[in-house]
Amino acid sequence: MPLDRDVELDELYREIILDHYRNPRNRGSLDQPNAIGEGDNPLCGDEVRVDLDIRDGRVSDVRFEAKGCSISQASASMMTEAVKGLSLEEVDSLFETFKGMMYGSDEVDVEALGDLEALQGVRKFPVRVKCATLAWNTLQEALEEFGKGRG
């Protein structure tokens, strides 16, 4: 139904998002994670869990489990791909850039986001923004807990 296409909707559900939704990367759990985050969105019931293996200040491995909509699952999957191998500082700064994009700041260098840039279309759907940021917030909490444990 080409004549009937809804451009904003196509922007929300970009092909790459649907691909991550259907074929999630890094789904599952780690045997011995040294940081774990659990998050949920009280407003819609989405739930996510992130397992991390952090070595020498870097994310050496990461897995996720999620119940939720295509956006929250795709976002979680894309996030794990994006952060694997990054230093904790790099993760922080990537999250800042990502939030900047989701909350519509103009100064964001979307180039730096790689595939994550595909989530831009969510901005037009304010209620879905929380779906896109859930995994990231959960990751951040896990890293904070990890930081405290060492601190």
């Binding site: 649907l18 819609c44 909509c69 956006i71 879905r128």
Partner: protein, 419 residues
């Protein structure tokens, strides 16, 4: 497929003209509002009642010696009488105005529960309760050391009453059950449960948030001790809830909140209480909205609650029929519309309800997607949520068609996009 030609029980087009919001467009499409279990739209008469109040009568009530205050007080108390009639209470003093059904349930838990439920006692709920009829009891139980027992839910989404006698026992102090499930639409048969409660000397609370707006409800026939519901789910303004209670219970109970209006005498050493029901209405109440709620009750009474029920049943039957024809779809709750309110709750196994909701919204169709504040019920069915369309007096068969088209579009969108 064309909409059934069956003539509905009242003139829906005339009703629609009474609801200004139904003229609105969403994303360039006419609004199709199917989220009535969350809140209903308001007829012109209710909006006008608010405007009239603020333009002509606005004053604080009960203690005013001036004309505005006198008029406002009379109008406020008139709604109490209307509510009482609407649910066939034996007297208006059985009606307490709260902010919401939620507050009405909390009032019972605080004012009756704290005084009467003790360590070792039991409270009986069902697995399909709205969080508002679950969390207040969980907190009460935890505080006093009581236990909560749940009546289970069958695969069909109905209450499993086998073994009721093992659940409601000598230890039971209170049984609280919803009359209609907001998540699936299941209409619960209450008489067995309430009779069992009373036989054991327990009180029976009915969550009427999804029943009072949609069907005739008679508190004397149901024989409940408490009933809670919300004005905003039955054409009324936001910010008004109702607690019905047997008058003698209200007399025995200590107040919930305290302050202005609910006192008789205040001394530095302590205070004594006003009469029932004012004892339970501390502070300036939501005067304007209570008065406007009276206009909502008038509107529903003029239609007749039997007709409201019949209209919703017709829409629901049609919606279920059309949904069943969609491939792969899962529909929750009883298929027999005589046992089901105006709710259609469904899922595609491979499309999340949120995604269905978003695509429907682009078509102007407003439904709810999620756990419907009934997470334990969702878990019972091992899912995060459902897509829920819920109907009211102004909905039409054509709007059901719009829903179905939207659902088909969601399905097509996801398969097209994946193709």
């Amino acid at each position: 497929m064309k909409p059934s030609k069956a003539k509905t029980v009242f003139d829906v087009q005339a009703i629609r003209r009474d609801f200004p919001i139904l003229g609105r467009q969403v994303h360039g499409k006419p609004l199709v509002y199917l989220d009535n279990a969350a809140t209903t739209q308001k007829p012109r008469a209710v909006i006008d009642a608010l405007v009239h109040y603020y333009e002509h009568q606005n004053a604080n009530i009960h203690r005013a010696i001036h004309t505005l205050g006198e008029e406002a007080t009379a109008a406020y108390e008139e709604t109490r009488a209307k509510v009482s009639q609407f649910i066939n209470a034996s007297r208006p003093e059985s009606i307490v105005f709260t902010r919401s059904a939620t507050e009405a349930l909390n009032l019972i838990a605080y004012a009756w529960g704290r005084a009467n439920v003790k360590k070792g006692d039991e409270i009986v709920l069902t697995q399909m309760e709205h969080h508002s009829n679950m969390v207040p009891w969980q907190r009460l139980a935890q505080e006093v050391g009581a236990t909560i027992k749940y009546i289970g839910v069958s695969d069909e989404g109905t209450l499993d009453l086998d073994g009721l006698d093992d659940i409601i026992t000598e230890k039971t102090k209170l049984v609280s059950v919803t009359q209609v499930s907001n998540a699936f639409g299941t209409i619960n048969v209450l008489d067995k449960i309430i009779a069992a409660a009373h036989r054991r000397g327990a009180l029976a609370v009915v969550d009427g948030a999804q029943s009072v707006p949609h069907m005739p409800v008679d508190v004397q026939a149901i024989d409940c001790d408490f009933l809670a519901f919300s004005a905003h789910k039955m054409l009324g303004p936001t910010g008004v809830g109702v607690l019905y209670a047997r008058y003698e219970l209200l007399e025995e109970m200590e107040p919930f909140q305290s302050g202005g209006e609910m006192i008789s005498r205040v001394r530095l050493e302590g205070a004594s209480w006003n009469d029932v029901p004012w004892k339970f209405e501390a502070g300036t109440p939501n005067i304007a909205d209570v008065i406007a709620f009276g206009a909502a009750l008038d509107y529903l009474s003029a239609l007749g609650m039997d007709n409201v029920r019949a209209h919703e049943q017709e829409l629901t039957a049609y919606a279920l029929r059309r949904l069943r024809q969609l491939e792969d779809i899962i529909i929750y709750g009883p298929q027999d519309t005589s046992r089901r309110g105006g709710v259609a709750s469904f899922n595609y196994p491979d499309i999340h309800a949120h995604d269905v909701g978003t695509i429907l919204d682009r078509e102007g169709v407003a439904i709810r997607a999620g756990h419907h504040c009934a997470q334990p019920l969702m878990r019972r069915f091992d899912m995060a949520g459902t897509a829920r369309a819920s109907f009211y007096i102004y909905n039409t068969l054509e709007e059901v068609d719009a829903l179905i088209e939207g659902v088909e579009k969601a399905r097509a969108f996801f398969s097209h996009a994946s193709g």
